[in-house]
């Protein structure tokens, strides 16, 4: 999988299946959550936005974590593919973080009575969004793509110090945002009727992310290796066949 042509072929075969699986999981989860899950006794139907908000917030954070791991790999072992994954993941992560911010803000207006509060968790999610943006900005400022990959890997590794602060911020500062819904160590605090579709939504979002990442990586590989023989052969074959 380390070699770009091999990865390209493997990804092309695997991608449609992944796409279908992702769409099914996500659609089922969303319909279940929006249509059939019970209404919250305090918040009414407004709470249903969590079926989008929570998965995208989880994704926003875990994509960053993943990027830091890839950054470390690309720094230490100089693996080209890790650097490409890093920059392919950055816009997706930024997108999910933005979705989390926007949906949270839409939910906050009727529930908290304001679009935005300077709560620890909201603030750190905003900072996370800025981190994604700086990584994208730095990458686009460097002409040589391989060099750009390794430069942003330094930033990604540095930024990993920020994510623990986000995770801990709710415990450190007692503020408006409720604590996490999910935890690996204890039973969820909501009813099964609610968290089962939520879990499905999270899974669906992860699958969508993997789909988008693989697709982005494919595009990245093609655009960087466009002068190589195997790319020319590939596309000529596709046109003929």
């Amino acid at each position: 999988m380390g070699s770009p042509p091999l990865f390209y072929q493997w990804a092309s075969a695997f991608l449609p299946w992944l796409g279908v699986l992702a769409i099914i999981t996500f659609t089922v989860g969303l319909f279940w959550g929006l249509g059939f899950a019970p209404t919250d006794y305090k918040q009414g139907d407004v709470y249903r936005i969590i079926f989008i908000h929570v998965p995208s917030a989880i994704l926003g954070q875990s994509i960053y974590l993943m990027m830091a791991v890839f950054g470390f790999i690309s720094m230490v072992w100089r693996a080209k593919i890790a650097g490409m994954l890093l920059i392919a993941a950055a816009p997706i992560g930024a997108g999910f973080t933005l979705i989390a911010l926007v949906t949270g803000s839409i939910w906050g207006k009727p529930t908290w009575g304001t679009w935005w509060v300077w709560d620890a968790r909201l603030t750190s999610t905003l900072i996370l969004f800025f981190l994604y943006m700086t990584i994208i900005a730095l990458h686009s400022s460097i002409e040589n793509k391989t060099k750009a990959d390794r430069t942003i890997s330094i930033l990604a590794v540095l930024g990993i110090t920020i994510v623990p602060i986000i995770k801990k911020s709710v415990d450190w500062w007692q503020t408006l945002h409720q604590p996490s819904t999910f935890s690996l160590t204890s039973a969820p605090s909501m009813t099964p009727d609610m968290y089962q579709p939520l879990l499905l939504c999270v899974l669906g979002f992860y699958l969508i992310f993997i789909f988008m990442l693989t697709n982005g990586l494919r595009a990245e590989i093609i655009s960087r290796e466009r002068d190589k023989n195997w790319v020319k052969k590939q596309f000529l074959n596709e046109e003929i066949g």
Binding site: I127, L131, T134, A137, L138, S141, R150, I154, V157, L158
Partner: protein
């Protein structure tokens, strides 16, 4: 070396003082308002000033070839980078620290919190110098604003800790816990950021 050109240490200092002066001009001269905002204002101004100061730290050395010698010498490069940042902080950061005493007077900082302010700023500005050096190394040969944009989001934990120290000091609470966290950040930051900076400089040679 940096002392030879007064611009190196005078410019950040002037920047710091002018920014401090801007706040009363923009917000009005009420003493109670300024007094409440003083710690934050001084912190932000000091962070920005030390960030701007460190922005060109490697560009001169790159031009005249001193930077090449770092990697040719027998000493580990990260040690040389650390020495460079330390000297830079002594020339640029320390005057800002002294000027913050003056800033605390004209902004009516509440009594008795000058010591925590200086302690926290001491660590904060040094951390910013390290962080700014990394930003300078990452954007070597590019625009100054890029280096600032890269570094700013990463400076937020420092700012949060600094203002937490000030808030608990003003309320008369024990601030040593926050001070320890900040010290720990600095202790991790000195080796960590220096190594990353070396890595970033090496990249610019490729």
């Amino acid at each position: 070396m940096a002392f030879r050109k007064s611009a190196t240490y005078l410019t950040p200092l002037i920047f710091f003082l002018v920014v401090i002066t801007f706040f009363p001009l923009a917000l009005g001269p009420q003493q109670s308002l300024l007094s409440a905002l003083a710690p934050g204002v001084i912190w932000i101004s000091a962070l920005l000033a030390s960030l701007l100061a460190v922005e060109g730290i490697f560009s001169e050395d790159q031009r005249d070839g001193t930077l090449d010698q770092y990697f040719l010498s027998n000493e580990p490069a990260f040690l040389l980078v650390f020495a460079k940042v330390l000297c830079h902080w002594l020339v640029c950061g320390a005057p800002i620290l002294l000027a913050s005493i003056f800033g605390s007077m004209i902004l009516y900082l509440p009594d008795g919190v000058l010591i925590p302010l200086l302690f926290s700023l001491f660590m904060g500005t040094f951390f910013m110098s390290l962080l700014g050096a990394l930003g300078a190394a990452l954007s070597l040969g590019k625009s100054a604003i890029l280096s600032a944009v890269i570094v700013l989001p990463f400076s937020i934990p420092t700012l949060l800790m600094g203002t937490a120290i000030m808030a608990s000091a003003i309320n008369g609470q024990d601030y040593s816990g926050y001070l320890s966290i900040m010290g720990a950040m600095l202790a991790i930051g000195i080796p960590g950021l220096c190594i990353l900076t070396v890595e970033a400089i090496l990249l610019s040679y490729e």
